[in-house]
């Protein structure tokens, strides 16, 4: 299936006590992408990054209710998943094509507060991102390798500082597929994004939270396990210069050292092929 995964983020400037609709970061939108109405889209996770505690509210007339919907407290300076934590089981909220989610945040009166939603598409025509599931990772995985990049974030609430995955160390093996299990950041922000042609140029991502290393270091792998679906992004090293890492954060900006946890894959994962599609492929050591 032409699967897709996208992290969308936004920010509110000086929201104070007012639940303020987020301004989507440049290039992102809280409107669910247009897809075949019979093919589900899912709100897989959401998180916020506030300097002062506030509330993150996600609602839509097509979800449970349009009064409070999915409302959670955002504690100060802690970018943790709010709904639903997928590291120990989860339940995804079904979303609907072209539905404009109302995402609001309260927080500090003199700061940029931000939040992000991770949306999965079972079938998004025109994207066909490359994702595998956990069994396929186990079957095709060869070596762990990390990619370390330094991202200088912008202070506007938008994603910024995009650098290629090989910008610091160009060690990936030519013409080889790599699965991205997740990553680590040394600095707190809202979201770490990874964009590449292999994901249909959509941005996949995870919370920029240095204290939740056990959650972020294999974020996509845990996502895949929790939902029993292929959500582990795969990119080919031939596309490394167009596979970029960036960060969305608040008005403080910051320099982020991000380590992506990759697994080198044995050959055999085709375009848009999910775990089920490559099941049974003969691989060394399988």
């Amino acid at each position: 299936m032409p699967r897709a995964l996208e992290v969308v983020a936004g920010f509110a400037t000086n929201p104070g006590a007012t639940l303020t609709a987020l301004t989507p970061s440049t290039g992102t939108s809280f409107t669910v992408r247009g897809t075949d109405a019979t093919k589900p889209a899912w709100l897989l996770s959401a998180w916020g990054f506030n300097l002062a505690a506030g509330e993150l509210r996600i609602r839509s007339t097509k979800l449970h209710d349009f009064q409070q919907g999915i409302r959670n407290r955002v504690t100060a300076s802690f970018t943790a998943p709010l709904i639903p934590g997928h590291t120990n089981g989860s339940f995804a909220q079904r979303l609907f094509a072209q539905d404009a989610l109302t995402v609001e945040l309260s927080g500090g009166a003199a700061e940029i507060d931000c939040a992000a939603c991770l949306i999965g598409y079972d079938d998004l025509q025109g994207i066909a991102g490359r994702f595998i599931d956990q069994p396929t990772l186990k079957k095709l995985g060869l070596n762990i390798v990390t990619v370390e990049v330094t991202v200088v974030a912008v202070a506007t609430g938008n994603f910024g500082g995009a650098v290629a995955v090989n910008s610091s160390f160009d060690t990936l093996i030519a013409n080889t597929d790599y699965a991205i299990l997740g990553g680590l950041t040394d600095t707190r922000g809202c979201a770490v994004g990874i964009t590449g042609v292999d994901f249909g140029n959509l941005r996949v991502g995870f919370p920029a939270e240095p204290t939740l290393r056990d959650e972020t270091q294999n974020w996509f792998e845990q996502l895949s396990i929790a939902f029993n679906a292929p959500y582990i992004p795969v990119f080919n090293s031939a596309n490394k210069s167009a596979t970029t890492v960036d960060v969305e954060t608040n008005g403080a900006g910051g320099t982020y050292i991000v380590n992506l946890a990759l697994v080198q894959l044995a050959p055999g994962v085709g375009a848009g092929l999910t775990g089920a599609a490559v099941a049974g492929a003969a691989q060394p050591g399988a």
Binding site: V152, G160, V197
Partner: protein, 151 residues
């Protein structure tokens, strides 16, 4: 001269010269009498709550050295260093660029990408250049050129 072994230490209640008001007896009581029950740690142990200077009440927060709580979390920078880095980051943030917005595309077939890259290498390009050409033009376009004998 060797002193004969005492049956009980000085200050012990069962010792023959026990004087409950003596300093030794009071010290023995302090160390060995626990009317509230069994202690978790012996008297004067560094981890005992009633030992002066113990660290039991220190808060061990993630990323913060409890002995230097004034230092920046996770980095361990002093306040002066942290302020300098913050100022530097603010300067860098002004120079940083927002990420370019790229239009969604259909993810390329890695087998086509590989064939296209190999074709370009075979026609005299180095791998980096070949990969960049494939990213710029698309694998299908490169393979179409290959099929018609173009470079």
């Amino acid at each position: 001269m060797n002193r004969p072994e005492d049956d009980f230490p000085v200050g012990h209640p069962k010792r023959h010269d026990y004087d409950p008001a003596s300093a030794e007896a009071l010290e023995w009581m302090r160390k060995n009498s626990h009317p509230k029950g069994e202690r978790d740690w012996p008297v004067d142990h560094p981890a005992a709550l009633d030992t002066a200077g113990n660290t039991n009440s220190r808060e061990w927060r993630a990323g913060i050295d409890p002995l230097n709580p004034n230092r920046e979390e996770f980095s361990g920078r002093t306040p002066e260093q942290a302020a300098a880095v913050k100022a530097y980051n603010a300067q860098l943030a002004k120079q940083a660029k927002e990420s370019p917005v790229v239009p969604p595309i259909t993810a390329p077939d890695p087998r086509e990408v590989t064939r296209a890259v190999e074709f370009l290498i075979a026609t005299g390009n180095d791998r980096d250049t070949a990969e960049k050409i494939v990213l710029r033009d698309g694998a299908k376009a490169v393979l179409a050129r290959a099929a018609t004998g173009q470079k």
